[in-house]
Amino acid sequence: MDDDGSVRRWRRPGDRAPAVQGVAALLPLAFLAVFFAYPVVTLVARGFRGDAGWTLAPVIDVLASPRTGRIVRQTLLLAVTGTAASLVLGVPGAYVLYRLRFRGQRALRALVAVPFVLPSVVVGVAFRSLLAVGGPLGRLGLNESFAAIVLALVFFNYSVVVRTVGALWAGLDRRTADAARSLGAGPVRVFRTITLRALAPAIASAAALVFLFCASAFGVVLVLGGTRWGTVETEIWYQTTQLLNLPAAAALSIVQLVLVTATLAVANATRARQERALRLTGRPSAQPVRRSDAPALIVTGLALALLVLPLATLVTRSFRTASGWGLDHYAALATAGAGTLTVTVWRAVANSLVTAVAAAGLALALGFLASFVLSGRRRGRLAGFFDAAFMLPLGISAVTVGFGFLISLNRPPLDLRTSWALIPLAQAMVALPLVVRTLLPTWRALDPRLREAAATLGARPARVFATVDLPFLRRGLGLAAGFAFATSLGEFGATSFLARPDKPTLPVVVYRLISRPGVDNFGLAMAAAVVLAVLTATVMAVAELLGPKEAVGW
């Protein structure tokens, strides 16, 4: 209608002035352009440059090679299985942790979020310790198997499904299901025809995220896959950092780009199709546990066991000393690990906190603007592009970005080669999609008629924003801040390319300790990993408290 010439420029309350919208869009886009698109494009372009000018041949050779074919097939197989397994375990978990109501639920929700931000090196070792021949679960014969990788992928991504789906489920109007039941539908039919359909947008959204995380999994695949399994991500790491095969890096980065774009397109289509007639009560409709919840409780119990066992392995090994058991490794956190480290572990904790504050602040500011733009009433093709743009960093290799940084941000006017600022910048980019995903649903859930009511009462657009939008958003902001902070705390991939040995972050310290021989180094690594896990759980628990009473998901 706005294109209709007969109508003067018209805005509903809540529609933003194009100028405001434009300025708000420009900042996060500029950030993405400079710190993501530009480095990635620069590196990929290098792959197309042969000795005698530009050439397509080497890249095409890589794309057509059987090795690439195998890697892509393995990536897809791992990602599809990992996503399916996460959904099968996560949807009942969402029900139990967000729809039911019982004591200790909040603690469980915080616990579930911990694996998501643990460095993959640590998770890899924890899983291997569990599954290795002679380990607690060694008898299962899962060592270095496909199943082991999938289990680890579920370990990481369980919380994504639980949170995203749980957020929607918690607010679902139960009367619709009651109506179906009164019309004679059994519980299974109600779930299939009513509940599952209502949850479909959240499930699609969660599936897309998990798929992206699985397809770009690096550390766990490297450690758990042994030598048989690889992903596009591990292959990029190998081809780029070890062989400096830039055509391969370019070809594989393009494969990733296609993968991400296709995933987002499918997810968006599913969401758009399903999002329409959703009825949310806006008020939590939690219910006490009943006997009929037993299957969901059992599945959730199994999933929690899968989450807790590797974490327990970490804790156990952090107490194992050369002479038996003790707190020696925790005492050693105040040391630099007998010379292995350049700083004490506590100092690294402080470094991590400072970096995470900067990264989370940046991600929140940019994510706030991005979600502001995306929550606008108009959702044209441009908005779709914008939406996808902010998800891209999730699916593109940290190696590509890290190497891209080195060769693109290394000359005036933007010379950041060895600057510390690159670390929070890289971490903010990783956290940004999660911030946007957390804020967006809150913003979209706001009834537009509240804005209209405010406007008819004489509130200017700025006041409508300040008195209606912001109070609503504040609830999502706490949670987004928590996620951004926790993600930055645990970020290892991009950080490892930019690390400063005199100012290492906690995951870098853990990695370094784990790469050294001796019970003391290993034990200290485990103790440091436990500190990281506790820190993360605390941040997430506080975020849950600050967050909306009803859950908000991605």
Binding site: L26, A30, V34, V121, V125, R128, S129, A132, V133, G134, L222, V223, G226, T227, R228, T241, Q242, L244, A322, S323, A338, G339, L341, T342, N351, V354, T355, A358, L362, F403, L406, I407, N410, R411, P413, L414, D415, L416, R417, T418, S419, W420, A421, P424, L425, S496, F497, L498, A499, R500, P501, Y511, R512, S515, R516, P517, G518, V519, D520, F522
Partner: protein, 363 residues
Amino acid sequence: MRTAPRPLAFLQGLLLSTGLAVTLAACSGASDPAAGGSSDAPASAATAGTLTVITHDSFALSDAAKAKFEAETGLSVTYVAPGNAGTVVNELVLTKDSPLGDVVFGIDNTFAGRAVDAGVLAPYTPADLPAGAADFAADGSGELTPIDFGDVCLNADTVWFADHSLAVPVTLDDLLKPEYKDLLVVTNPATSSPGLAFLLATIGAKGDPGYLDYWAALKANGVKVAASWSDAYGVDFSGSSGKGAYPLVVSYASSPMYEMGDDGSAPTTALAETCFRQVEYAGVIAGAANPEGAQQFIDFLLTDAVQSEIPDTMYMLPVSSSASLPAAWARVLNVSPHPWTVSAADIAAHRDEWISEWTTTVL
């Protein structure tokens, strides 16, 4: 300014004007007061006051040593560790026209050839190399100065072998015997630097293509391949905290030192006949903004003070024979008299080919 692309200039202007850059500056300033202008471009800022040192991620020096160097030279030093040795070399190659820093430490002999061939280093030979250092010199380019070395050797869990009344193997050929079936875990040379070193040991011992037959036999005798050293040593090896199922593992000659009990007894040992010697070099980066500072840093790495702390901080051995070793090292460590060798030039020429043939044979 001619190389500055217009859109980027625009974007930076935008960032500046909107305060993002200010925020970033504030962040870095708040937590990094000492670094001052250290993030200034080494290439563009020709001030003699700053030095950027690029190292691999295992680099460590004591604070005292770093402070001493800064005090003596008046330089303000920034240390950057962008990855393992291979990653560092590849990054130097990529950023040749706008170098990351002034001096690099940690290029080992498995990657030295690539660095030299790519021309990322400037010639420099310290005027007075300490005694013994010359033995480790790289092949003739004059660009790489040896700083430390370490032997990658198989480690054996002697307690396990005693418990099982089995002799600890000695040679590479012993590993093919049936009594040692399913006892060895190695790491993938494609992803792990000790793994590559051990592959080179077998190439040094068996020649090319003889090493492939050897590995085929190892495979038949149940060798296990892990992705990384931490994985093999920390999880699969029976002689360390992981209490795994394999009493033989690829590790370093120095590793047994870290398994010593309080009584000074070592439950593991390195097998001296299975070693490959890794030498780590430092070099001045071609196009460095501060080549004099870079040379001063290399000289500094060769001083007895730094050489003596290398075992404790970097788990390697100093190249200088005048450096003092920690007491335990002097007592327990047996430096292999005859490590297997492959020349840096050979490695540079065949590295990728060997790895891919190994992959085909073993995996």
